[in-house]
C-alpha cells in the first residue's frame, strides 16, 4: 500500500515537474500561501504510545507512561535551494500533549514552495523568555493548563514525561517524573532539530502538506544518552542529566512520511 502510494506521489511530482520544465523551473506553479500541518505521532520504539501501557527498554526498565507533553517552537522550512522560511516567532510556540490528544501543529500563511527540510526547537529559548510578560502572551496560560508551567522556576517545562516504572531492583511500580526545562539563567536546555522531509512538501493556495512525524518517547531515557530511572526516578533540575535528556528528546523525532494534497486527510 505504502510503496504504491509513494510511487503515485512520485509520479504526480514527476508530472508536475515535467509539465513545468519549459518554464523557469523555480516553482512558479505553486503560488500564494498555504498551511503546513505537522502531526506529532508519539510512539515507543516502533510501537504506538498508549498512555497506561507498559514498555520495556534496552536498559531492562519497564515504563508505564501516563503523561507525555512537550513544547515545540520556532519552526523553519527550507527548500531545495536553501531558502528558509521562518515562522513568525510571536506565533511560534505550541504545546503538544498526548493526554489531551493535541498533537498537531498547524502553521498558517506559509509562502508557496517546495520544502525539503524542517527545523524546530524543543522548548522555549531564552530570547523568548526574556521578552517578559509581553513576549509570553497566552503561552503561560496554556502552559499552566497543560502542566507545563514550571512555577518555582517561573518558566516552562519543555518536557513533562511521567508514569511509573519497575526494574530488576525496583520491583514495586514506582513513580517517575521527568521535567526538563532551562535552569534559570544558568543552563539553557532549549535544543533544535532539523529533519529532512524525504519528499518535497508542497505548499500553495490549494496545497496543504501534512508532515507526519514520529516521536519515539523511548528515546527520552534510552537514546544516545542512557538514563536509569532505577538510579534516579525524579529528574527535574540536574546539571548532568537534564541536558542529556534534552539532547535525547531533540533526537526523538523522525519523518515518517509527507502527504501532499489539500490537507484534509492522511
Amino acid at each position: 500500500m505504502k510503496p504504491l502510494y509513494k510511487l503515485s506521489i512520485f509520479l504526480f511530482l514527476f508530472v508536475i515537474v515535467t509539465s513545468c520544465s519549459d518554464d523557469d523551473s523555480s516553482g512558479d506553479d505553486l503560488t500564494g500561501t498555504g498551511m503546513v500541518k505537522i502531526e506529532f505521532d508519539n510512539s515507543v520504539a516502533g510501537d504506538d504510545l498508549i498512555l497506561g501501557s507498559s514498555y520495556t527498554n534496552s536498559q531492562n526498565e519497564t515504563l508505564t507512561i501516563d503523561r507525555l507533553n512537550y513544547i515545540v517552537s520556532n519552526f523553519r522550512l527550507t527548500d531545495a535551494d536553501g531558502n528558509v522560511y521562518t515562522y513568525p516567532k510571536d506565533q511560534g510556540y505550541f504545546i503538544t500533549s498526548e493526554e489531551t490528544g493535541n498533537t498537531e501543529v498547524v502553521l498558517v500563511d506559509v509562502p508557496a514552495g517546495r520544502y525539503t527540510s524542517l527545523t524546530f526547537g524543543i522548548g522555549v529559548d531564552q530570547e523568548k523568555y526574556l521578552l517578559g510578560a509581553e513576549g509570553q502572551g497566552d503561552l503561560l496560560t496554556e502552559a499552566e493548563s497543560t502542566n507545563m508551567m514550571w512555577s518555582w522556576q517561573a518558566g516552562y517545562k519543555f518536557l513533562n514525561f511521567e508514569g511509573t516504572f519497575t526494574s530488576a531492583t525496583v520491583t514495586d511500580a514506582t513513580d517517575f517524573k521527568i521535567h526538563m526545562g532551562s535552569h534559570g539563567s544558568s543552563l539553557d536546555n532549549y535544543k533544535e532539530t532539523t529533519l529532512s522531509l524525504g519528499t518535497e512538501a508542497l505548499v500553495s493556495d490549494d496545497m496543504t502538506p501534512i508532515v507526519h512525524l514520529v516521536a519515539n518517547a523511548g528515546n527520552i531515557l534510552d537514546g544516545n544518552n542512557k538514563i536509569l530511572l532505577t538510579e534516579q526516578a525524579v529528574i527535574m533540575v540536574s546539571e548532568e542529566k537534564s541536558p542529556k535528556i534534552a539532547t535525547n528528546t531533540s533526537n526523538m523525532f523522525t519523518v515518517d512520511h509527507v502527504h501532499n494534497g489539500d490537507g484534509s486527510s492522511h
Partner: protein, 348 residues
C-alpha cells in the same frame, strides 16, 4: 541643579490620535516617570516593553494589595512585603502564607528591582515580569494558580474596568496582569536615603564622623559583594552560613542543579537594611550586630564558600568592635524615609 543630574524619562504617551474609534478613552492614561538616580547603575528592566502608566500602575497596586491573588483570599503580596519595612515581612523569620503554612526563606525587599537581572534568593527567574508566578503558585505562600487568579479577576467588574483603563487591548489576561504588577514594582525606587543625598551632594547633607568611618570600612570589607549604590552585585554566593539542618536549603543549586551552587544565595541589597530584620535568606539573625558577629566569627568553610571570605588568617571578615559600631552607623544612613512613606506605594 547640576547636582540633581538625574536622568529622567519624560516621555508622554500620546495614544489614539485620529484613529481613535472612541472605544476606550486612554488619553489621560499618561506615562509615568521612573526615577533613575544618578548614583545608580543603569536600569536593567526594558522599560519600553512595558512603560508604566497611571492606570497600569494603579492596577498593579490594586493587585499587589489584593488577597484575591491567593487561594484563601487573604494573602496579598503586601501581606509579606510591608512598605514600612521596605517591603519585607518584619519580625518573621520565615514568611507564612495561606493556612499559616510556613516557607523556608525570609521575605526579601522589593525596592529597586528594575535595576536587577535575577530575582528571588535563588534567581528562580531572570525577568521581573514573571516573578509573581512564584509566590502565587507556591503552596506555602499564596497557593493559587495563575488561571485561578484570572478567573476571579474576570468576574470582578472593578477589575474589568481597571484592565480596560490600563491597557489598550484591555484584556484580563496573564500578560496584562503581569505587566501591571511589574509596573508597580518598577516604580519602587529607593534612592533618597541620607547616604544618597550625601553622595549626590544634595541639600548640604553630610555624614557624621562615625558614619564616614563606617563607610570607609564598608568599602574595604563589604563592597566587593555589596557593590555599587544598589549595594549588591546581584550574584549568588555562599557566605558560609552553616546550613540549617532542619531545612538544608541548597539555594541557587535548586535552580541550576549544579553542586557548585550549593548553599549560594543572591547577595541582598543593603538599602533600608536597618528596617529589614531579620537577616539572611532564612532570617536567622535578629540584629545587624549578630550579622557582623557572624562574619567575624561564624563563617563555616565548605566546597562552595565564597573565595572572598577565605583569607590567610582564616574564614570570614576581621573586624573589631569599634569597626562594627561604625559599620552599623553607616548602614543606618541607607534608610530612605521618603521611600517607606511614599503614598504612591501605600496600601491605605
Amino acid at each position: 541643579m547640576k547636582y540633581l543630574a538625574w536622568a529622567m524619562l519624560l516621555i508622554t504617551l500620546v495614544a489614539c490620535n485620529e484613529e481613535d474609534g472612541g472605544y476606550i478613552d486612554i488619553e489621560d492614561n499618561e506615562r509615568l516617570t521612573v526615577a533613575i538616580p544618578s548614583n545608580f547603575p543603569p536600569m536593567v528592566y526594558q522599560i519600553e516593553e512595558n512603560p508604566p502608566t497611571r492606570y497600569g500602575f494603579e492596577l498593579g497596586k490594586k493587585l499587589f494589595y489584593d488577597g484575591k491573588l491567593s487561594a484563601n483570599g487573604f494573602i496579598s503580596c503586601g501581606f509579606c512585603h510591608e512598605q514600612r519595612f521596605s517591603f519585607t515581612h518584619h519580625g518573621h523569620q520565615f514568611s507564612h502564607g495561606i493556612d499559616d503554612k510556613e516557607g523556608t526563606r525570609n521575605t526579601p525587599s522589593i525596592a529597586n528591582m528594575a535595576f536587577f537581572s535575577e530575582f528571588a534568593w535563588d534567581g528562580a527567574t531572570s525577568h521581573l515580569d514573571l516573578f509573581p508566578i512564584i509566590p502565587i503558585t507556591n503552596e506555602v505562600e499564596m497557593g493559587e494558580t495563575m488561571t485561578g487568579v484570572l478567573e476571579k479577576l474576570r468576574a470582578d467588574s472593578d477589575y474589568q474596568k481597571a484592565f480596560k483603563a490600563a491597557f489598550e487591548d484591555g484584556g484580563v489576561n496573564h500578560e496584562n496582569f503581569l505587566k501591571a504588577i511589574a509596573q508597580f514594582m518598577v516604580m519602587m525606587v529607593s534612592y533618597n536615603s541620607k547616604y544618597d543625598k550625601y553622595v549626590r551632594n544634595e541639600d548640604g547633607v553630610a555624614l557624621t564622623e562615625e558614619e564616614l568611618h563606617g563607610l570607609h570600612i564598608f568599602q574595604q570589607k563589604c563592597a566587593s559583594c555589596h557593590t555599587t549604590d544598589l549595594f549588591s552585585d546581584g550574584s549568588f554566593r555562599n557566605n558560609g552560613l552553616p546550613p540549617n539542618p532542619g531545612i538544608n536549603d541548597i539555594g541557587r543549586a535548586e535552580v541550576s542543579g549544579s553542586v557548585n551552587d550549593n548553599h549560594k544565595f543572591k547577595v541582598p541589597s543593603l538599602r533600608n537594611v536597618t528596617l529589614t530584620a531579620p537577616y539572611m535568606h532564612d532570617g536567622r539573625f535578629g540584629s545587624l550586630e549578630s550579622v557582623l558577629n557572624f562574619y567575624q566569627n561564624g563563617v563555616q568553610d565548605s566546597p562552595t564558600l565564597d573565595p572572598l571570605l577565605k583569607t590567610e588568617e582564616g574564614f570570614g571578615i576581621s573586624m573589631n568592635d569599634a569597626e562594627k559600631m561604625a559599620l552599623i552607623a553607616f548602614l543606618g544612613t541607607l534608610t530612605d524615609e521618603e521611600f517607606i512613606n511614599d503614598e504612591r506605594f501605600a496600601e491605605y
